[in-house]
Symmetry: C2
Subunit: 326 residues, 2 copies
């Protein structure tokens, strides 16, 4: 494979090359992997490498993520920005299929030449999901997209992962019925830069306003991140259906990012994220020794012996490690 | 080393042999490790192996953990039970020294022939702390102690670890000033079987009662564990200084444990814990490849290159893994 030519086409924004490249980074085949690493390296080392704003977006099913991304994406296109949307779906690890990222969910956006939507691949392990998503983000960035939205479902671990590969994190919520917070995990509140209460339209407008106030209050209780300007993280209402509040949300996002850029936090965070993924990749690479069929079978056998009291966990682990060292 | 004779002495309850054995499992030396594994195996396989009640205990500094353990331990001795106390102090990983488990903290208990107190060793990594603590619990159990208390400080990860090596988890709290919960992490509330609000004496008696009611309310909001009888997890007040409430606490503990034993949950949980530690040991064993001096140095160099944008995290990880495979 002519890596240099491939990289050049991606850098020129060729969509078919971008799609092929993402398929390449998603592949588990060893030769694909080698090419993928070389390609990413070539793109990363380009002196004219563009920089996108990487935006993480989370929200439980039913809050209107697809509609929000479509409306928000269309607004960004109107501003002359190119938008890529990637879906990270750790649940596909179990189901073996993609529940997110279906292009048909974002009908208008998917037909726009300046937008790119990539469905979530089916994967075999979360570590793999992380690396492949992160590589796909880097590819979209290299292809010159101004905003790369990384969408995920609200299941905890995936948010942390997405937050580690994005510059800004949005949490999309629906108006709550009562005065109760929607069981949003504290950990997710802590990584959100902006909470957007969607469906602030029609009958839900005033519940949305109340929910927004509740979350604004909850955010004030969380310790403020030192690297952020006064008032962040923020909660606001939007309506994806009526396309209201989206411009204000974007303004808040750019305010925050400009501030972080000027203060040097933007670059520092990206450097820290790169270091984090390096360490994670090494750890996952070591643990991948347990993924083989023979290793799994032995883990199962030894696990059963340990659970049955036939041997100590310590001895079983030593046996397993001895086998792996061979 | 004559492992069979060593095991025999421990099984007979010889304290000096027990202390030597714990020192052995705490050692990082390879030959000590081999002996330790053999010793644990020999003890585990004894047909007359006794079973202790393993009790985890957590509480932030200042709640009176030492005083509680002393009073509670003395009460257990009065009931004719033998008591071992082990301290797990993950903070010593960083400080290099033990802040817990000092025998002088439990003056009366440490002089009792039927009690055994083992201070926390200084360790180099949390994985190591877990394995050594777990081995020490197994040794105390093999030595015939009826109750093994594993004490830890309230720092999150260590509670989870201790909960995975004990049958019952106690959370010790101090009366709060206001009506506010004391920043106790939800995760810790979720593993506690019994919350004990200490210092329910003198001026603090009514604040303790109020705090207890607050926590009882908070516990009701958490989902009830299916394997437990009605009313658990519970919150109650105790006074370690005045030695009140301790008998009731013990009664609740035995009620819960008897219930779990009858329902088969006690044995099932121990089996699951053994399987968990087996998997953890294997994982930690694989990750231990990063502990060597050369590996650390290379991780640092590659990490700096990645943070500086000189290479991708992906490529750096591949290089690191290639070196480790050699």
């Amino acid at each position: 494979m002519d890596i240099a030519a491939f990289a050049e086409k991606i850098a020129q924004g060729d969509r078919r090359s971008l799609s092929r490249a993402i398929t390449l980074v998603e592949s588990g085949r060893a030769d694909h992997r080698t090419d993928a690493v070389a390609l990413l390296e070539a793109l990363t080392q380009r002196p004219d490498r563009p920089e996108a704003l990487r935006v993480g977006l989370s929200g439980t099913p039913g809050v209107g993520k697809s509609t929000f991304i479509e409306s928000f994406g269309m607004m960004l296109l109107d501003k002359g920005l190119r938008v890529a949307v990637l879906a990270v779906d750790p649940s596909s690890v179990r189901s073996g299929g993609s529940i997110l990222g279906d292009k048909t969910r974002m009908d208008r956006l998917s037909r726009e030449p300046m937008a790119y939507i990539r469905p979530s691949p089916s994967q075999t392990q979360l570590g793999g999901v992380a690396r492949r998503s992160r590589d796909a983000v880097a590819l979209c960035e290299a292809a010159g997209f101004d905003v790369v939205i990384v969408e995920t479902v609200g299941v905890g671990q995936s948010e942390t992962m997405v937050a580690e590969m994005t510059d800004l994190f949005l949490l999309l919520l629906a108006p709550a019925g009562g005065d109760e917070l929607q069981g949003v995990k504290r950990g997710i509140m802590e990584i959100a830069d902006l909470i957007l209460v969607n469906k602030a339209d029609g009958e839900l407008k005033s519940p949305a306003t109340r929910t927004c106030a509740d979350y604004a209050g909850a955010l004030r209780l969380l310790r403020k991140r030192v690297q952020d300007p006064e008032g962040f993280p923020k909660a606001m209402t939007v309506s994806a259906v009526e396309e209201t509040g989206l411009g204000t949300a974007w303004d808040e996002m750019t305010t925050l990012i400009d501030w972080r850029r000027e203060a040097g936090h933007f670059a520092a965070r990206r450097a820290e994220q790169a270091r984090y993924w390096f360490r994670e990749d090494v750890r996952n690479g070591l643990l991948a020794q347990l993924d083989g069929e023979a290793a799994r079978a032995q883990m199962k056998t030894l696990g059963a012996a340990v659970a049955g009291g036939e041997m100590t966990a310590t001895l079983a682990a030593e046996e397993m490690l001895a086998t792996l060292r061979k």
